[in-house]
């Protein structure tokens, strides 16, 4: 499953901040990290990359959120899936 690290530029207004944190804390895919200078670190683990970018789109649209910026993306699964589709000999020749 793709693993993504990201930074959220937080809302400055307290109600918007609270709403964002509530949204994040009830999402099992999200692990929250440190917060400093209006930024919050998080890690997201989703079934697909698309699911992750959908989540970022949803978070970006929340009141007061400045931006959701990805910083780390592991997608080794992508190759595994392609190898599985291609079969062992094809996968080797692709390398």
């Amino acid at each position: 499953m793709p693993i993504t690290g990201a930074v959220i530029l937080l809302p400055t207004e307290e109600p918007a901040r609270r709403a964002l944190f509530e949204r994040l804390e009830r999402d099992p895919r999200v692990e929250l990290g440190i917060e400093a200078a209006g930024r919050l670190a998080l890690v997201v683990e989703t079934e697909t990359t698309r699911e992750c970018t959908n989540l970022f789109d949803e978070l970006s649209a929340l009141e007061g959120v400045g931006a959701v910026l990805p910083v780390f993306h592991d997608f080794s699964d992508f190759h595994d899936a392609r190898d599985a589709q291609a079969g062992p000999s094809d996968a080797r020749s692709e390398r």
């Binding site: 440190i34 200078a37 910083v71």
Partner: protein
């Protein structure tokens, strides 16, 4: 620790580093090199996509990219990425990479060997050297562009080379030259940390330069007050962040800039001291105007801006007079720091040079110039539009390092540096992009002198305006031969006679130069698929084939091969043989040679090794007495620019008036060349979207990006839609005097054009909006206007939602 936990730890560590800033990043980031824990090797590279030039760290295992991290040590992005950068590691892995050279025989593209392909190109060039044109790109790496320029200008002795950056930033180039005597922004991205006001002139950085834009938004998240003013012809994502949105009529920007100048003079709020010490005034000649123009005095200049009262500007631009006064009030306040930002909106403009000049003029006149956060900054769309096209000079009038083929001293210097016989470089400016493709689409007896074009790293079949006339036409004329080097099939490769498979991004060594004069370097990390090969090698291999056949241009004055390269023991390395290409670092060799050109216009570059160590350096880069190399943030500014002497304050040392002054231009307002009428009643504007990069060749093959934005669409105003009988999702025919396509309507979509105006993105090859756009271009920059032409609309089918 299992692999999943390890990855989660790395992801959190990267996010923490980006939150905490550079010092923490030093301790916290993935270390470059191979991790013993999971066998992933990490190396740095700039992102492949836009001109922001974010740095990434690329994680490679088993010779495949498996992870991407924003580089927290990079000043440009401090670890942050946008959705395209997040997916950049997938760009090489589309299912249909080009892997073999293909030659069209009996209408079909059939595989041939590289050797045959090189022969075909050499044959075409030898048959008619003057009819050969090279069409490159702001995605060429610096060494690729340099090799192409040397091949054409130093080898073939023509100037038949141009690049797609002509279509995106040529007006910025002509304006920088007209204003400061030398190209490229004097300021840099540090402005975002310090400005009080950002003015976007027809620019949508929230989608087009998202990481750069986030630097400004980040300040707001920290509670700082920064005002954003969005001047545009359509509401965009950027508008959502703006305190003030000024909706203008197409070409209204000319009038707005003139209106600000008018008020600065009338209110006496211009910066008299700055203007008297550092500026001169200039306008176009009445007859035969040139980019140089003619000097005028301040009184004449003032008289010319007199008519641009706020009320007159409101009439011309549609922006209320009160807003023009607000803008002039901001510029009249020297306690503020104001950054003007622009990109395609001002450049793709039939008066692009003029409007660029005027915005520089507003900043110069008001003294909002040369302080951190206080100046005009133009952006580029491509990762190396600056580094390659503008600096290396892959344009039909240019020579490396800011030289011009029309200048005998520059030609002589280039001949010296390239060890060429005197007179090899032609003084005849070659055909610019629009002219090259116009000639390619004409028969010889109609003046179609270009009969062969070699396209590298770009997709003119999709991006040239009025494409049926300027691209498709050539495909019907016998004897016209199109060669295309690319990584994926495109509209251009499908129309080609010879297709060459190219290596991309980290499949080869490379260097880019971003929008803030930052030169960046990376090493090859993975192998290209099949027989795909570096574009630079392709150029050198053709040059060698011509050399072997006795072409005199491929020899220097001593009879050696134009790209003669030796190993450390002085023995020639046959870099034209791909098996030997990486025996030496060809990039380094070419870059070190290119450095020799860069001092002429004070665009000095450091040795290659400095870029290996750095996350890019902004030129001019000069050596300090202690042997370290120092980059420059602000040009022409004392204390920042090493070429400005003490106590000068500011010095425009390439001044066109030869007195160290910058030029404040007058240009009148002029209407667009085509405006809506009863037959074609709507304005059409075209542009980009967040998810896709330019013609979508790479991003449409990255499944999450393709799913996020699967096809092009037509943005339409909610009040225009019912009058046309159109509902969301309906199919609409968009037709101009040049062509037509059908698109799905999107009302209240991502962007919102005003009444009487529609917007269509150009990323989708299946919906080729450039069949509709206009080919008219700026008289100086020759950059076409993709932002405005007249169209009519007709519903042709009901959508699912109707």
């Amino acid at each position: 620790m299992n692999r999943r936990d390890l990855l989660r730890g790395m992801a959190m560590s990267a996010a923490s580093a980006a939150v905490l800033g550079a010092a923490e990043a030093q301790r916290n980031v993935v270390q470059l090199g191979t991790s013993p824990r999971d066998g992933v090797s990490w190396q740095k590279a700039p992102c492949r996509f836009c001109g922001t030039g974010c740095h990434v760290q690329v994680g490679v295992r088993d010779r495949r990219i498996v992870a991407i991290q924003g580089d927290p040590l990079a000043a440009v992005n401090r670890g942050h990425l946008c959705v395209k950068g997040y997916h950049v590691g997938l760009a090489p892995y589309g299912p249909d990479r080009l892997t073999r050279p293909l030659l069209r025989r009996n209408g079909e593209l059939v595989p041939i060997t590289w050797d045959q392909a090189i022969d075909v190109i050499a044959d075409r060039i030898q048959a008619n050297p003057a009819g050969f044109g090279f069409y490159g790109s702001g995605q060429w790496t610096i060494p690729e562009g340099y090799a192409a320029t040397k091949f054409v200008k130093g080898g073939l002795g023509t100037n038949n080379i141009d690049a797609n950056a002509r279509l995106c930033m040529a007006s910025a180039v002509t304006s920088f030259i007209a204003t400061y005597g030398v190209d490229e922004p004097a300021s840099c991205f540090d402005d975002f940390e310090r400005c009080d006001v950002v003015i976007c002139w027809g620019n949508n950085p929230a989608e087009m330069h998202p990481v750069l834009f986030s630097r400004f938004i980040d300040r707001r998240s920290r509670g700082e007050q920064v005002t954003l003013i969005d001047i545009g012809t359509r509401r965009t994502r950027t508008t959502g962040y703006a305190q003030h949105y000024l909706e203008m009529k197409p070409h209204g920007d000319l009038a707005i800039a003139l209106g600000i100048m008018h008020l600065l003079i009338r209110e006496g709020t211009y910066d008299r001291n700055f203007v008297e010490r550092h500026c001169a005034f200039r306008a176009l000649q009445e007859a035969n105007p040139t980019l140089q123009g003619e000097a005028i005095d301040f009184e004449t200049w003032k008289r010319r801006v007199e008519e641009y009262t706020p009320e007159r500007v409101q009439e011309l631009s549609g922006v209320p007079a009160a807003e023009i006064r607000r803008l002039a009030g901001l510029f009249g306040n020297r306690d503020l720091r104001i950054t003007s930002l622009w990109c395609m909106g001002m450049n793709q403009h039939t008066r692009g040079t003029a409007v660029n000049n005027l915005v520089h003029g507003v900043h110069l006149l008001s003294g909002h110039w040369g302080r951190e956060g206080d100046g005009p900054t133009s952006l580029t769309g491509q990762p190396s539009a600056c580094g390659t096209v503008r600096e290396v000079g892959t344009l039909c009038h240019a020579l490396p390092g800011g030289g011009a083929v029309a200048n005998p001293a520059h030609r002589a210097a280039a001949e010296r540096l390239w060890s060429l016989p005197e007179g090899r470089i032609s003084d005849q400016i070659g055909p610019h992009t629009m002219e090259m493709f116009r000639q390619f689409g004409l028969r010889p007896e109609e003046g179609g002198n270009i009969d062969t074009i070699w396209v590298q790293v770009t997709n003119p079949g999709q991006t040239i305006p009025n494409a049926s006339e300027y691209f498709d036409r050539s495909r019907t004329i016998p004897g016209k031969f199109l060669i295309v080097s690319d990584v994926y099939p495109t509209l251009t490769t499908r129309a080609a006679d010879l297709v060459l498979p190219s290596a991309m991004w980290v499949e080869k060594n490379g260097m880019f130069g971003n929008s803030e004069r930052r030169t960046q370097q990376w090493f090859k990390m993975i192998d290209p698929p099949g027989e795909a090969r570096d574009d630079c090698w392709q150029t050198i291999a053709v040059a060698r084939r011509l050399f072997d056949r006795g072409h005199p241009g491929m020899r220097d004055a001593e009879g050696r091969f134009l790209f003669h390269t030796t190993d450390e023991r002085g023995r020639e390395v046959p870099i034209w043989d791909f098996r030997r290409y990486y025996d030496v670092n060809v990039d380094e060799r070419l870059f070190e040679e290119y450095r020799g050109f860069t001092a002429t216009k004070h665009k000095n570059l450091a040795p290659y090794r400095e870029y290996v160590a750095a996350r890019g350096l902004r030129w001019p880069v000069v050596e300090k007495p202690d042997g370290t190399w120092q980059e420059t943030r602000y040009r022409f500014v004392e204390g920042e620019d090493p070429f400005v002497p003490e106590s000068a304050g500011f010095q425009f040392y390439h001044s066109t008036s030869n007195d160290d002054r910058a030029q404040i231009w007058f240009h009148p307002y002029e209407p667009p060349p085509e405006v809506p009428d009863t037959e074609y009643p709507f304005w059409l504007c075209t542009g980009r979207v967040l998810e896709h990069w330019h013609s979508g060749t790479m991003t449409m093959r990255i499944p999450p990006l393709r799913r996020a934005m699967p096809q092009a669409y037509l943005e339409l105003h909610r009040e225009d839609a019912p009058q046309l009988g159109v509902a969301n999702g309906d199919r609409v025919r968009v037709e101009s005097r040049r062509g037509a396509i059908e698109l799905v309507a999107w009302i209240d979509g991502r962007g919102q054009p005003p009444r009487g105006s529609v917007f269509v993105p150009f990323f989708d090859e299946r919906l080729r909006i450039n069949l509709v756009t206009l080919h008219e271009y700026d008289p100086f920059s020759k950059q076409p206007d993709y932002k405005k032409c007249a169209v009519r609309l007709r519903r042709v089918g009901r959508g699912a939602a109707s």
